[in-house]
């Protein structure tokens, strides 16, 4: 009965590979987000989808491509992984404009070697 679930929890891969992270929420929220947390714990927004429409697209390399098949799912595909992509990636969701905080997933720790 996890509210926001991400898979995998850990991902170790070599430079140059392509990988995907999946996120699903069962809260009935209409908006989902991807945040990146670096080694110094700084959280930075990457993307957001509202009802499958992209509404936030921060300055992120185009190697990162989000995809939302429906409002309960938001996946993140990363091409040609680089060392600097190593971080913890958090998925989050909320009801847009309702003035409530996000519900976060437990994170995916990506390590590029």
């Amino acid at each position: 009965d996890t509210a926001v679930s991400q898979t995998p929890k850990y991902l170790v891969t070599q430079m140059g590979n392509d990988k995907s992270i999946k996120c699903e929420q069962n809260l009935g929220h209409d908006t989902m987000y991807w945040y990146k947390q670096d080694s110094k714990k700084f959280l930075k927004i990457m993307f957001s989808y509202n009802n499958k429409e992209l509404i936030i697209n921060e300055t992120v390399p185009n190697r990162f491509s989000p995809k939302s098949p429906d409002k309960a799912h938001l996946n993140l595909h990363i091409n040609s992984l680089e060392l600097g992509d190593s971080a913890v990636y958090f998925c989050a969701s909320n009801l847009l404009g309702q003035g409530h905080g996000y519900t976060f997933g437990s994170g995916t720790r990506l390590t590029v070697v």
Binding site: I45, I56, F90, G101, Y102, G107
Partner: protein, 112 residues
């Protein structure tokens, strides 16, 4: 919130004491503010929020104070417990942008 440096500030408090965690934000158009708690290996968890038309809001053992004049937010935790040990983040949202900007974070260590 804003990125105020490269080093995560740490606050150490004795169990049972009150804790005060501070945050500065930079966007004067921000109208909604949230405090999150992140325990090791977990995602950030909502603690308390406040809108810009208020200057104080209380929850269970936590109080958030907002000073819009100096763009400052604080989180007060009463009777700090070992379970309060975590990294605390403030986040702010400018109305209509639909994104929260997170501050650097403060690590709270509770000493037994």
């Amino acid at each position: 919130g804003e990125s105020v440096g490269l080093h995560l500030p740490t606050l150490s408090v004795q169990e049972g004491d009150n804790s005060i965690i501070n945050c500065a934000y930079s966007n004067s158009a921000s109208d909604y503010f949230i405090w999150y708690k992140q325990e090791s290996g977990k995602g950030p968890q909502f603690i308390i929020d406040i809108r810009s038309n208020m200057d104080k809001r209380q929850g269970q053992r936590v109080t958030v104070l907002l000073n819009k004049t100096v763009k400052h937010l604080s989180l007060q935790i009463a009777a700090t417990q070992p379970g309060d040990s975590a990294v605390y983040f403030c986040a702010d949202e400018e109305e209509g942008t639909y994104k929260y900007i997170f501050g650097t974070g403060t690590r709270l260590k509770v000493l037994a």
